[in-house]
Symmetry: C2
Subunit: 155 residues, 2 copies
Amino acid sequence: MSERGKPVPLARLLLMSYRLLIDGMHQRLREEGWHDVRPAYGFVLLATRDRSTTSVELASLLGVTKQAASKILDPMDAAGYVRRSVDPEDARVKIVELAPRGWELLAAVECIYAELEAEWGAAIGVAAVELMRKHLTEIVLAANGGEFPAIRPSP
Amino acid sequence: MSERGKPVPLARLLLMSYRLLIDGMHQRLREEGWHDVRPAYGFVLLATRDRSTTSVELASLLGVTKQAASKILDPMDAAGYVRRSVDPEDARVKIVELAPRGWELLAAVECIYAELEAEWGAAIGVAAVELMRKHLTEIVLAANGGEFPAIRPSP
DNA sequence: CCTTTTCGTCAACAAGGTTGACCATTTATA
DNA sequence: TATAAATGGTCAACCTTGTTGACGAAAAGG
């Protein structure tokens, strides 16, 4: 590897590590029979987990345009992971919430994710994982005025 | 933020941090007058820095198909960042190397990158940055049989 | 010499992003 | 109260970067 002898850029390590988790996640999902899950779905699952949302709000949470949000929601709706309904209080608005299948998928995702993070704990120690979490949190918050930024599924 | 009170998934923190570096990189490049640099170019610059390569080898280094590699090289070639020439020893092969403008871009990239990493050192301490580098390296190598994997520009 | 493999390019399609446009609905203003 | 402005969601075109399949030229193998 041409990086031998030179420190590997941290950005590269961050991306490799992230990919490790995400690719591992999607592989395990496939092994469990989830064959139609796209990378972006995870972002939508997390955004709609704690409370229903709307298309345009989801766009804001994801840091993308409303068109992009709609574009992810379309196949998710078609596959039965989310439901969209007209808001009784504002006829322009579509309420977006997880459908039963979406809840099942979310449960599978969270279970696999916990396994993956536990594997990191086994590899470098739980304390090191928590320290990394602490440091990354500091960096991200410091750079975003004390808040977590919206994070796009794809650059 | 709905993540308040729950640990933010490490995957999310990794992605946020990575984006912080990469988005910061591209913003500063634009500020310096580099207006036509796409995210994928950085990967090609690093892959061709230490020695010239070939289209198909680049594909392998990037972990993408040869078609995808060619597709990134086309605009880079057109913009004068790389040069492609026929290999005198094998007429099928295109040698890919950085052109003068590519070297200038690489220099700008590396300079900005150093600034960005130094800012992390200022935020959490240089020792913490190095510790993170060490831990991430361990995780990545452990998961890839002791080697660094190819890393695609885009999932 | 013929078959198989390899390299790079062309083409079509996909995922997920952008901008612009449009219509319906709601809110704000005169 | 009527009109203007703002908002939500969808349609459309295009972009970046990925995939697969196909193809012709060149090289390697039998």
